[in-house]
Each structure stands twice: as C-alpha cells, then as structure tokens.
C-alpha cells in the first residue's frame, strides 16, 4: 500500500515531465544561455571573453540603439492600431451574409496564406520608386513619385502597410466570429432602451467582444516585435537605419557581424520590453475585459 501511494505521488511529475523537458530544452535553456552570452564577447569561433556589463553599456551609449528601439516601438504602435481598426471595420462590414461579403472575406483572408517571402517580393516591386505600380498610379494623378522603400520618412510605414495588408483579413475573420456570437436579443433590448447606434457599438458590441480584441491586440503586439522577413528582403534595415528594428538588428549583429554578446544583450532588452508590455497590458486592461 505504502509503495503504491508513493508511486501515485510521483505520477503527476511523470506526466508533466515530457512537457517540462521540451520547455527546458527549447525555451528555458536558450533564454538562460542568451542571458549568459550577453555578458561575454564572442565571435562564434574564438574563445568567449567575459565582458561584464560592457555589452549593455555599449548598447545604451550607442546612438543606433535608441533609433532601433524607437523604430521597433513605432512599428508596433502603427501596425497594431491600423490592423485592429481596419479589421474591426472590415468585420462589421462582413457581418451581413451576402455573396459580396463572403467574396470579400475570402479575398481579405488570402494574404494570410501566402508566404512572407513572396509577399515581400511582390510588394517590393509594387513599391519600387522607379518601376513600381504605386508610383505609376500616382503619376496618373500627377503625384509622386514616393520613395516607398527609399525615403527615410516613408519606409517604416511602407513595411507597416505590408504587414497590415497581410493580417487584416485574419483578424477580421476572428472578430467576425466574435461579433456573430453576440446574442441578437441584446440588440433588441438595446433598441427598446432607445440606444443610439454609437452607444450600442461602444456599450454592447465592443464590450461583448472585448476578450477577443484583448487577445488579438496582444498577439499583434508580440507579432509586430518579431517582424523580420519583410525588413530583410525589402529594406535590409535601410535607408539609413530607418527600418532597422530590434529583431533585425539582433540578426545582423550576430550572424553578419559576429558580435554574439552584443546581439544577446539586445535580445535580453527585447525580452524585457515585450515582457513589461505584456504585464502592463494585462494589469491595465484585463479587468476591463468581460469574460463570459
């Protein structure tokens, strides 16, 4: 009896062991190793040299880093705002189940299944300053040309545009299904309560789908920090570092300049930022979300 109860005590640990092992090998160990690396100078080949906080000091003293950081945050804010607002509008429009709406829904979802490489290449052509379609269309109205990917002021926004184009359909799809799950009788009760369209939208619709919006916004924030392919293919962080973000910079520093310790320190900073934003986001908004 005694040995049996002992093995019963072990059973839960046994059951979670595989998951814990996978998490440890693929998540926890790399994170810790990354933090460890950030205290060293290393070029991937030679010996590792302990550097203390030098990588971090260099990071915050360097002029580039602040620019990179602000690019990253600016990209995040623009991307998340545009995606959510447009997806919301599209979802509201798609609520009516007509042929046109189903067609548009399919159409708007399609970019989501195309690989980012192809997307980047196509948009690179569209946005080409001299031969791109956009500038050609603008020229018809006597406007432009715009240096979509070559103008410092515009390039980051152009990348946001690609990201928005790719993810609006997916976000709209999720919001549409959330909208569809709002019981019709709530709208009827609101109609009898003499509620204006605005009030219905803000007091009922928006609040009923708040868990979905909360989730989507968080996913989009995290996703926007990870933007890489479009930058790598379309701008390489340029012009003049205007589209250089943390992730791209980390990649460059470690795999092109072999400054592994410096890149690792940057990764630690990125992790801290994402973590802080997530914690803040949960603290600030979670209590305002209505969970059924």
């Amino acid at each position: 009896m005694k040995s049996r109860s002992k093995s019963m005590k072990l059973l839960p640990y046994l059951l979670v062991a595989p998951a814990v092992m996978i998490l440890t090998i693929f998540y926890i160990y790399p994170i810790l190793y990354n933090v460890y690396l950030s205290f060293f100078t290393w070029n991937m080949r030679g010996p590792m040299k302990f550097a203390g906080l030098n990588n971090y000091i260099e990071l915050f003293k360097g002029r580039d880093f602040l620019g990179i950081l602000s690019n990253t945050l600016l990209y995040m804010v623009m991307d998340v705002t545009l995606v959510m607002v447009l997806a919301m509008l599209l979802a509201l429009f798609l609520q009516k189940n007509t042929f046109i709406n189903r067609f548009i829904q399919t159409l708007s979802f399609t970019p989501n299944i195309i690989s980012l490489i192809s997307v980047s290449l196509i948009w690179m052509w569209l946005m080409n300053t001299d031969t791109g379609l956009f500038n050609y269309l603008l020229s018809l109205f006597g406007a432009g040309p715009v240096g979509w990917l070559t103008d410092k002021q515009v390039a980051l926004f152009s990348l946001v545009l690609v990201s928005v184009w790719k993810s609006v359909g997916f976000n709209a799809l999720i919001i549409t299904s959330a909208l569809g799950s709002i019981p019709a009788h709530l709208y009827e009760a609101a109609a009898l309560d003499n509620a204006s369209k605005q009030s219905v939208f803000f007091q009922i619709t928006l609040r009923m789908i708040s868990p979905t919006l909360f989730f989507l916004i968080l996913m989009n924030i995290i996703g926007s920090f990870q933007v890489f392919e479009t930058i790598n293919i379309m701008t390489q962080g340029g012009p003049a570092n205007a589209t250089n973000t943390l992730i791209f910079s980390i990649y460059k520093q470690s795999f092109e300049y072999y400054r592994v310790g410096y890149a690792a320190a940057m990764a630690v900073v990125l992790m801290a930022i994402v973590g802080l934003i997530t914690i803040f986001y949960f603290k600030a908004l979670n209590r305002r979300v209505h969970y059924r």
């Binding site: 019981p183 009788h185 709530l186 009827e188 009760a189 609101a190 109609a191 009898l192 309560d193 003499n194 509620a195 204006s196 009030s199 007091q203 009922i204 609040r207 009923m208 708040s210 209505h290 059924r292």
Partner: protein, 362 residues
Amino acid sequence: MSSIVLENVSKAYGDKSIIKGLNLTIESGSFTVLVGPSGCGKSTTLRMIAGLEEQTGGLISIGGKSMNQVEPGKRNLAMVFQNYALYPTMTVEKNIEYGLKNNKVPKAERKRLITEIAETVGLTKHLHKKPEFLSGGERQRVALARAMVKKPAVFLMDEPLSNLDAKLRQQMRIELIELHKKLGATFIYVTHDQVEAMSMGTQIVLMDGGRIMQEDTPHGIYNEPRNMFTSHFIGTPPMNILEIARSGGILSETPHGAKFFGFRPEKAKFVPEPGLAREEMLELDAVLSSRELLGSEVIYKAGLAGGQSVAVKCFDCPERSLEPVKLYVNKEHLFFFDAQEQRIPADGSRAGVTVPSIGSTA
C-alpha cells in the same frame, strides 16, 4: 390612452405567411395574454407591437398614434424577454440605468429612480453585481426593474417566466398580477401556458396558425368556447369532444348541423345529479382505463363503446377501481360544434352565446 390597435396586420417571411389579417384591440390598462401553441404567431405579434419586427401589412397604433414608422425605443413601451436579455457586461445598476441614460434622464434623477426601483423589486444588495452572478429569479427581477424604471405605458412580456422553476414561477405570477394592479399600465403577455393565461390575464387572446381563435375574458374563454380549438386548448384535461356519428345515438336530439359534441371532464359524474330527470341527462357506458391522482382531484380516462374515450375529473371523491361504469352529464353542459369545428349555440338556454364574429376568426 395607451390602448393598442392592430388593424389587418399581417406578417410573412418570404412566402411563408405567419400572421394573416390580424385585428385586435388591446384595452388600455388591461392584462392581455396572447396564448397559443408554439408557432401560432403570438411572439411575432408581440414583437411587431414592440417594433422589433416590421409587419408586412396593416397598421399598428398605440394610444391612437400609428407606430408604423416609430422606432422601438420611441414607442413608450418596455419589454421583458424570455431569456431576460440582460447586458452581461454591465452591472445590475448599469442594466437598469441604460434605458434612462439613452432617454437623457439627468444623473441625479437616474440615481433616485434606480434606488427606488431596486427597493421595490428587492435588488438593492445586488446593484453592483453582474447578471452572471445572480440566480434565475434575481435576473428576472432585474429584467422587470429595467422595464419598470422607464415607466412605460405598455409592458410587453415574452414568456418571461418560462425559465424559472415551478415554485418561483407561481410566486412571480402573483407578483406580476400585483404589479399590474399597482402600475395600472397595459400588460401584454405572451405564453404557451394556459395556466399562466387563465390565472393572470384580464383578457385572453387565443391564437392558432396566425389567427385569433377567440378573444375573451378567462371566464368566457373557459365557459363559452367559440370553437373546438378553444375548448381543446383551455382546460386540463381538455374538453371531451366526441363525434356524434360515432356515439351510437345516445343523443336523442342535436342542433341542426352539429357534427361534434363535447363536455368538460369535471361535468361527467359517476352518479346522476339529484333532482334531474332522465331526459335531462346524457348517459354513457364507459370502462375506466387509467387513473391519475392529483391530490384534491382524480382524473380518469374512460373508454366508450364506439372506440372514443373521455376524461373524467372529480374532486374529493373516493378512488375507484378501473372497471365498467356509467357516466352522467347534465345536458345543460353539452357543447355542440359543426363540421367547421365552430360552436353551435345549443338552444334557448344558451342565449348570450353568439356565433364567432368574422373579424376575429376569419
């Protein structure tokens, strides 16, 4: 001042007609119950009065004003939904306040009204909870409070008690009757439950297949059914209806055109009423086949010779074994119906019964 008039109202979804040429006047201050089997159009009628559904044809007016172009929120009515339709994201207080806010009632006034109404329906200690933390009965009260706080001229209720358990339902029935008396507003109440209709309504509108079968007081609808549908729908168990042709000539004389006759289960007796001559009674040979004990009353099912069967309800009577019996029905209590299932007034003794008016049945 807030009587509701429906003139020739019809409703169709596509080519499926739900309501056909409905004419109905609901008196101001009445407790009118729309009752009928599911799919009879009672809810649709209510929703058209509310403005949640637009009628395909006809005119709906409240207090003499046409409501055809008026939005639901501007009709001076409130509705209690079957599933309450409380706003799940708002607290009880906000739920009650929402309609007032939309009607631009000043904040201080809103506070006062909410406090008052919460007191009335006993919700004061729940004001800051969300509906999901309330019991069914409490949610029901919130729904009522939300309707009452607007002080509407007309209350619309769509099966508001059907989600409550039997005991609470009975309690709420009484509370609604009292509420109606207190507020003096017009209540329109939709239910499929004839007990609710009979116990609460001052006026009952019985519907079937998108038409009004009978519009009457509870007393009238029970005692003077105008057609077989009414006699069958109202009453537990329903009225016994027998085909004259299959009854083996037990009736010596029948009114002209009669095809069916019927009597209420409680009118059938096991012993002849004292002082009643033989020819004043209908005598039936029957075999009791089942027995339901319901406390103060017993309901028997009895098979007749021609293969038809009747229910017999008796109060305070000793239990009988299931065996052949004789049943006696005072002929005064017989109802006759023609081939169209419409009531035929029996004879001079039934003066006061009129042939159903074309308006409410056709």
